[in-house]
């Protein structure tokens, strides 16, 4: 699962620390999400989408071969 978290976060001028605090996760979690090392739960994906004021589909890109 690819995502555009880093780009969107930078576009909105948000620091990883700020985002982590707002979502109640660690900064390392944000870093891992951005690097694609960790895929979030549906709950966290929803929180991220809500935080950016977007939909989940705007942020996360599902790749067919992952099934």
């Amino acid at each position: 699962m690819k995502n555009k978290i880093e780009n969107i976060r930078k576009e909105q001028g948000i620091l990883q620390d700020e985002m982590a605090k707002a979502l109640g996760v660690s900064r390392q979690t944000i870093s891992s999400l951005e690097n694609g090392r960790y895929n979030p739960s549906i709950m966290l994906a929803y929180k991220i989408a809500k935080y950016f004021g977007m939909t989940i589909e705007d942020i996360f890109v599902f790749e067919e071969e992952e099934i």
């Binding site: 982590a20 109640g24 996760v25 660690s26 390392q28 979690t29 960790y38 979030p40 739960s41 709950m43």
Partner: protein, 133 residues
């Protein structure tokens, strides 16, 4: 760490540990139990200190809450337990074979028994979780 009942449990650990240590000093129980008492006191004391810091220090409380509630940390912890379980079974199975080859039957049986117990526990947990989810 929101439940004050945990604090009571930690204090009980310390009291129980102290009782075991005193009984050890009086030679009522052997060094195994007094050692366990020492471990209980240490564990209880660390937890009480953590709990008091959690109550008083806001930045520590925030850090603690993130550490304990962060879903990636949960994922990592669960993964670590799973790996530890796999490795334990593998190492114990190898030990059972090696001990048997060395003629250490009791050790071999113990290692084999440990593997069996863990595999049995795995299946029990699997069936319980399967029903739950």
């Amino acid at each position: 760490m929101k439940n004050d009942r945990r604090m009571i449990a930690y204090i009980i650990y310390i009291i129980f540990g102290a009782v075991l240590m005193v009984l050890g000093m009086l030679e009522v129980v052997d060094s195994f139990w007094s050692g366990m008492g020492g471990a209980l006191i240490a564990m209880g004391a660390v937890r009480v200190i953590q709990f008091l810091r959690y109550k008083k220090d806001e930045s520590y409380r925030e850090k603690w809450d993130v550490e304990t509630q962060d879903e990636r940390n949960h994922f990592i912890r669960n993964k670590a337990w799973a790996w530890a379980g796999y490795l334990f079974v593998l190492i114990a199975a190898i030990c059972a074979i090696v001990f048997k080859l060395l003629g250490q039957d009791l050790l071999s049986i113990t290692a084999g028994f440990a593997v069996s117990i863990l595999v049995l526990l795995y299946w029990v947990c699997y069936l319980v979780l399967k029903k739950k989810y």
